[in-house]
């Protein structure tokens, strides 16, 4: 850090007083951050092993042999989570966009469509995801449909898609609302139809603005995929449960958590990064302090 700074300021060897001051400030805050992290880690490393039952917890949650044994099975099972995620995501985006467009329609004749879209988002968001998965995942196959339409995996994914399209539709709607009316006025005044205005002027701006919240929802979806396991399909959470029962050891759950983190943390970081970039772009010059 300090080195990089030095090199960059190579052309102007002497720093101004202000630059010098800022550099010192930066060093000080890096030092404080590093020191406090260190203190916390030492405290954890020193005190947790002194807890009365630490040996037992260590054995049943952090058993290295158990990790090695479960890891390949869990990764295999995680593949199903990934697949569910990959096929529900595009469906969610398309459905959500259509619902958002329906809610944003302006023609008086489309009033019933607006009402329906509003009711849909309210109902989908008003019930816990897990309940929809039970209701749809058990309910629809219970109708006696033929294979492959009786698969809990299919209907569990549908339930997930239904709820999430409710949430994502609201995100799209907020984005569409955030595009200033004067943009529509400009487009319409040039003779563009309202559909063309939406497609070429409003949506491109709206979607750009809601990329961060959309990614946020994707992070949640990525985790909620595991709920589908509750109606049968053997994905990672269920596989971890099976392993736990077989070996009477909780380590598989810890491994499952780590596998989730390996996907969600990069996604979360990316979201934060995009969010900051968007904020910088749209909120003007930052105040100094």
């Amino acid at each position: 850090m300090a080195l990089g700074l030095h090199r960059r300021s190579g052309h102007q060897p002497r720093l101004t007083t202000r630059q010098e001051h800022e550099r010192q400030q930066r060093r000080r805050s890096s030092f404080i951050a590093a020191a406090s992290t260190f203190v916390v880690l030492v405290a954890v490393a020193v005190f947790i092993p002194r807890m009365p039952r630490w040996d037992r917890v260590k054995k049943s949650f952090f058993d290295v042999n158990q990790m090695r044994d479960s890891f390949p099975r869990l990764i295999d099972a995680f593949w199903l989570d990934v697949k569910i995620f990959v096929w529900t995501t595009p469906a969610i985006f398309i459905a959500a966009l259509l619902i958002a467009l329906a809610r944003n329609s302006r023609s008086p004749a489309l009033f019933p469509v607006r009402m329906l879209a509003a009711a849909y988002t309210d109902v989908m968001r008003g019930v816990p995801v897990i309940l929809w998965i039970y209701l749809v995942g058990f309910g629809v196959p219970g109708l006696g449909l033929e294979r492959p339409f009786n698969s809990p995996l299919l209907w569990g994914s549908v339930a997930l898609g239904m709820t999430y399209s409710g949430y994502v539709a609201e995100v799209f709607r907020a984005g569409i609302d955030s595009v200033h009316e004067s943009q529509r006025a400009a487009a319409r005044s040039l003779g563009l139809s309202s559909a063309q205005t939406m497609r070429h002027v409003v949506l491109p701006q709206a979607i750009r603005r809601v990329v961060p919240p959309l990614l946020n929802d994707m992070v949640s979806l990525q985790k909620d995929v595991a709920l589908v396991s509750l109606i049968g399909p053997i994905e990672i959470l269920r596989q971890a449960g099976i392993d736990k029962a077989k070996f009477a050891n909780f380590t598989p759950f810890v491994v499952a958590a780590l596998i989730f983190l390996s996907v969600t943390i990069p996604l979360t970081r990316l979201t934060d990064y995009l969010w900051h970039r968007e904020r910088r772009r749209t909120s003007g010059t930052r105040v100094a302090a």
């Binding site: 004067s182 040039l190 563009l192 070429h200």
Partner: protein, 255 residues
């Protein structure tokens, strides 16, 4: 009056508002307003803030729906309920105070979007038309730039070009220099000067009195949503007949 006679000779006025009334809720913004603008004529709308200049312009290109009266374009009623506004908007362009360029598109695309989607031009033809206009108004090197990379004056010139590219018969200009730094006003007004006499009909809402006096064939003073006085620039500015015009001009000049 002379203009009215003149336009009768060549047919109907280009734009005609007859007893137009427009309210927002209980706020009546245009009150029984009548105004005729002849083909190729330049008419400036002046008046206090809130007198209805913007609303009048928006009614002419159908961004607002009027409550009563009629708006005619070449003698055809365009204000009828249920009429498709898009063919009218192709013939009547508007430029806004705040530019309203599309921020996610390059300057060139801002101009060609409606050319391709509304007029159905091929991309090449649209780009060529955009390039010609950008060159004519000294912005050729900005074709690939995005609006936020331009100065306010440049953005407003692009907005004018975007409207002009549609080759409208009427161009409505709504305080197009109000959002600009004083040193950028000139370059935008120069564009309007160049348009005068090209056959296009201009209806200009403005707070720039000197400019209105210079460019207009007639000046129209609006008061509380009606035409209080209309006449030649030298008459309205030099010898205003209406007391409210006199008051308004005194106030403007004392600032």
């Amino acid at each position: 009056m002379t203009t009215l006679a003149a336009s009768r000779a060549t047919g109907a006025p280009k734009v005609s508002l007859r007893s137009v009334t427009k309210s927002f809720g209980t706020n009546t913004v245009l009150r029984d307003l009548s105004l005729d603008v002849a083909t190729g004529e330049v008419v400036s709308l002046i008046g206090a803030s809130g007198s209805g200049k913007t609303t009048l312009l928006r009614c002419v290109n159908l961004l607002e729906q009027i409550d009563d009266g009629v708006v005619l374009l070449d003698g055809d009623e365009i204000s009828a309920i249920g009429l498709d506004p898009n063919p009218v908007r192709r013939r009547v362009g508007i430029v806004f105070q705040s530019f309203n360029l599309f921020p996610h598109m390059s300057v060139a695309r801002n101009i060609t979007l409606a050319l391709t989607k509304v007029l159905g031009l091929e991309n090449d033809a649209a780009t060529q038309r955009a390039t010609e206009l950008l060159t004519r108004f000294g912005l050729a090197d900005k074709a690939g730039a995005f609006p936020d990379q331009l100065s306010g004056g440049q953005q407003q010139r692009v907005a004018i070009i975007r409207a002009l590219a549609m080759q409208p018969e009427v161009l409505l200009l709504d305080e197009i220099t109000s959002a600009l730094d004083p040193e950028l006003v000139g370059e935008v007004l120069d564009v309007v000067r160049e348009l005068k006499g090209s056959g296009i009909t201009l209806l200009i809402a403005t707070h720039e009195m000197a400019f209105a006096r210079e460019i207009s064939d007639r000046v129209c003073f609006l008061h509380a949503g009606s035409v209080a006085e209309i006449g030649s620039p030298s008459q309205v500015f030099g010898a205003p007949r209406d007391e409210r015009t006199q008051q308004f001009l005194r106030r403007v000049r004392s600032n």
